[in-house]
């Protein structure tokens, strides 16, 4: 679908900077709007009419809001919660308590079965404060070469955030953690690999970087599983196959199809060494929740209006009027985009959410630095199928964050576990993985006898028990083992319409037929409160941010007509700590010209790909 008429761009609509700078030379060249609120006083009420109403400040919605606002659309962005992030939020412990209660009261669509254990050492005037912790509902890692990263740089949202490296990927096998052999140096120096294995591994690594150009190698296996392909075609052995598929590829099962798995393995390899000797990054202070906030701020700077604690009551597609539960109204000329978590009462259009993601989050009183590389505060631990005593069919993926992430205090860590397994089996797998993590960290760390008698009591059998309060449904069999002290243990089930490790299906958004009046009858459900609303997909089990930009672009195209100008903004703030020119006057202020034309700061993510290819050439043995 092509756009019949382009909406005027941001710069065309608001060539405002020239007015206050008094420099009319700028009017032709400036492509950047003023900071919202700097130029004109903002109205004290929400707008009466907007192009787009977005409900929910999750990742996809926030990226979309920023893209639309910079493109020139007027956007009203609301959230029923009193915090940003929605399904991607980063929450304090108190907010988690509240969230668990709401999930168990069925107040939040798309989640259920939330269980929370909370130690008494978190609370007012306790050892730890609720706000010392930032707990992500959808923990994510950012590949150094990925579409979201490009958008973060292009939109300047990266300047609101701080990123840290993550280089350690452990594969759990035979009751121990194997650190990943992911560089060619590692491969060459690894004493455990036979010469033949090294040769085969190098052969595969060379192939996978350009796999799409070599269909003759993988096409015969296109419908087969990646494990079969690696065993048969590249004669790799199980430890290497599992590392490649589950730790490097972060695939979910042995049945993952060859093209998808190759794509995912390549994603890791081309991300390696883009910013340094690591493939992924994560944002400090919270993951997806911080990224969402960054894009929301960007949207606000471009003029979008923000209102938290706002819930839609109903939308009338005929009059285009959206009514909120507080009685306020807005006319929406184009589209309403809404997360399923934000749906009004009486909704009948939420797409089927048949895929489960089961998550567990533990706050642990242990720094876990044994698992991190030097100077890092995060690690990924993957439990491949069959590696746990529960006989897990699917992978359990674990993200470990230490205090350096500023998501938790010193000497504590956050463990995020997740699986696409469902029901009781999921609980068994997550419990087994948790136990394996605990055993491992107890074994690997020494001197962790806890000395706080107020918190830990010893029962008749000599086992320590945390003096605890329980919330929601409790962990009935929960007994802390040895010296791993849990400050919090949370588990929940999340539902999504996106298949595991896949990206959103664009067809999902096609239930919006109201723009095409001829078809509207097909979709119009009398008395439904959400006729004409386009629902986004809940986050999938994907641990990377990879689905986010795809989904936001599909929605953007539906609204604007084309995604050609998705974040097509030239900013002039290229100032990047260049040495200021001009004399300084002691004791007084002198102003430096902060505008620089250093275009060289622009990052061309494509360049690194070429380097990766070179890298391949040098891998010949």
């Amino acid at each position: 679908m092509l756009s019949p008429e382009r909406r005027t761009s941001m710069a065309e609509r608001r060539p405002s900077f020239a007015n206050f700078s008094g420099n009319s030379n700028h009017i032709d060249t400036l492509m950047v709007p003023h900071l919202a609120g700097i130029e004109d006083p903002l109205p004290e009420t929400t707008p009466e009419k907007v192009d787009v109403l977005i409900a929910g400040t999750g990742l996809v919605e926030s990226v979309l809001a920023a893209a639309l606002a910079w493109q020139g659309s007027t956007v009203l962005h609301v959230d029923t919660n009193d915090y940003y992030g929605d399904s991607a939020a980063t929450l304090t412990v108190d907010q988690i308590k509240n969230w668990v209660n709401r999930v168990n009261n069925n107040d939040i669509i798309s989640y259920n079965n939330a269980k929370l254990y909370l130690s008494t050492s978190i609370g007012p005037s306790c050892k730890y404060m609720s706000k010392d912790f930032g707990i992500d509902l959808s923990p994510k890692i950012l590949f150094a070469k990925s579409d979201l990263l490009s958008i973060l740089v292009k939109s300047r949202v990266h300047q609101y955030l701080e990123f840290q490296s993550l280089s350690t990927f452990h594969t759990y096998e035979n009751d121990s953690f194997e650190k990943l052999t992911n560089t060619k140096q590692d491969i060459f120096t690894d004493q455990n690999l036979s010469l033949m294995t090294k040769r085969n591994l190098m052969k595969f690594l060379k192939f996978v970087l350009n796999w799409e150009e070599m269909p003759e190698i993988w096409q015969p296996y296109a419908d087969k599983s990646i494990t079969q392909f690696l065993f048969e075609k590249f004669k790799l052995e199980k430890p290497q196959v599992f590392e490649l598929v589950f730790s490097i590829g972060l695939c979910c099962s042995v049945d993952t199809k060859v093209p998808l798995a190759l794509h995912r393995i390549r994603r890791y390899l081309i991300s390696y060494d883009v910013y340094g000797p690591f493939p992924v990054l994560y944002s400090k202070y919270g993951g997806a929740g911080e990224v969402s906030q960054g894009f929301c701020r960007s949207a606000a700077v471009a003029g979008a209006t923000y209102k938290l604690n706002e819930k839609l009551y109903s939308y009338n597609p005929t009059t285009q009027v959206a009514t909120f539960t507080d009685g306020s109204k807005v006319t929406v000329t184009e589209k309403i985009i809404m997360s399923p978590t934000q749906a009004p009462e009486g909704n009948q259009h939420i797409p089927d959410q048949k895929y489960e993601v089961n998550r567990m989050v533990c706050l642990v009183e242990k720094d876990c630095k044994e698992w991190f590389s030097e100077d890092e505060s995060a690690a990924v631990v993957v439990f491949p199928p069959g590696s746990l005593k529960s006989g897990n069919k699917h992978v359990v993926q674990t993200l470990i964050l230490g205090a350096g992430s500023e998501c938790c205090p010193q000497n504590t860590s956050i463990w995020y576990l997740s699986t696409i397994e469902s029901g009781v089996r999921a609980e068994m797998d997550l419990d087994a993985a948790l136990e394996a993590l605990e055993v491992s960290i107890v074994r690997e760390s020494s001197s962790d006898i806890t000395d706080n008698n107020d918190i830990v009591k010893i029962d008749e059998d000599g086992r320590p028990i945390i003096n605890s309060v329980r919330l929601g449904q409790s962990f009935k069999e929960y007994i802390p083992r040895e010296s791993v002290q849990h400050l919090m243990k949370l588990s929940y089930t999340q539902y999504t319409s996106t298949p595991p490790f896949d990206v959103v299906n664009p067809a999902l958004f096609d239930n919006d037929e109201l723009n095409n009046r001829a078809n509207s009858v097909n979709k119009f459900i009398p008395n439904a409160s959400d006729n004409g609303i386009i629902y986004t997909a809940m986050p999938s089990s994907e641990i990377s941010y990879d689905e986010v930009v795809t989904a936001a672009k599909v929605l953007y195209e539906k609204i604007v007509g084309s995604d050609d100008d998705f974040f097509d903004v030239d900013f002039e703030d290229e100032d990047n700590d260049t040495v200021p020119q001009g004399a300084s006057v002691n004791g007084t202020i002198s102003y430096e010209n902060a505008i620089d034309d250093d275009d060289d700061e622009d990052v061309d993510m494509g360049i690194r790909g070429d380097d990766s290819n070179e890298f391949v050439g040098q891998m010949e043995i």
Binding site: S165, C296, P409, I589
Partner: protein, 211 residues
């Protein structure tokens, strides 16, 4: 002749129409200094100031309107080293709101944030001293109680504007930026931070394999 540069994240707070933006524009705009213009981009306004032998780079975060419906994100306060809490000396209500923002900053922001309380629009008094509705004494009392810098300014005439930023710049410990990330005794060094706008040099990797 490269001066050490200290980056300071400064956030703006205050009731609507008290002149927050005018103060900043006065500070960064070219009629405030002869040949300079502010950098305006998606992220924030930046302005460099030389104080003695040191360059202070102010990264000025506007609320972008997100405060209007009590929707400021935690990100806004995060790691802010300085804040301007602005009120209008002719509007008592705006001073009440300023108290609220000071309280909010003490709860949400870094413990050692430097807050400047700024009573704006003193130019109005030139015509009629009766227009003053917030006494200097009252504001000074608040500043003393809460350990704030205090200025009365006029964005219109430029009175005291540079003093606000110079005052903040002088109070900030002018060391390396790594000191700004201390939090509850935790010291995270800058080298842990990855700048997404700078891709690394891959030559190290290429040279590592000599076979």
């Amino acid at each position: 002749m490269s001066n050490p540069i200290t980056s300071i994240k400064l956030v703006l707070l205050g009731e609507a129409a008290v002149g927050k933006s005018s103060i900043v524009l006065r500070f960064v705009s070219n009629d405030f200094s002869e040949n300079k213009e502010p950098t305006i981009g998606a992220a924030f306004l930046t302005q460099r100031v030389n104080i003695n032998d040191h360059t202070v780079k102010f990264e000025i975060w506007d609320t972008a309107g997100q405060e209007r419906f009590a929707s400021l994100a935690p990100m806004y306060y995060r790691n802010a080293q300085a804040a301007l809490v602005v009120y209008d000396i002719t509007k008592p209500q705006s001073f009440i709101k300023a108290r609220h923002w000071v309280k909010e900053l003490h709860e949400q922001a870094n413990k050692n944030i430097i807050i400047a309380l700024v009573g704006n629009k003193v130019d109005i008094l030139e015509d009629n001293e009766d227009e003053r509705k917030v006494s200097r004494e009252e504001a000074e009392k608040l500043a003393e109680e809460e350990d704030l810098l205090f200025f009365e300014t006029s964005a219109k005439t430029g009175t005291n504007i540079s003093e606000v930023f110079l005052g903040i710049g002088e109070k900030i410990p002018l060391k390396g930026p790594e000191d700004e990330h201390t939090n509850g005794g935790l010291n995270v060094t800058e080298d842990q931070r990855v700048n997404l706008a700078n891709t690394a040099n891959a030559s190290e990797n290429a040279s590592a394999c000599s076979c």
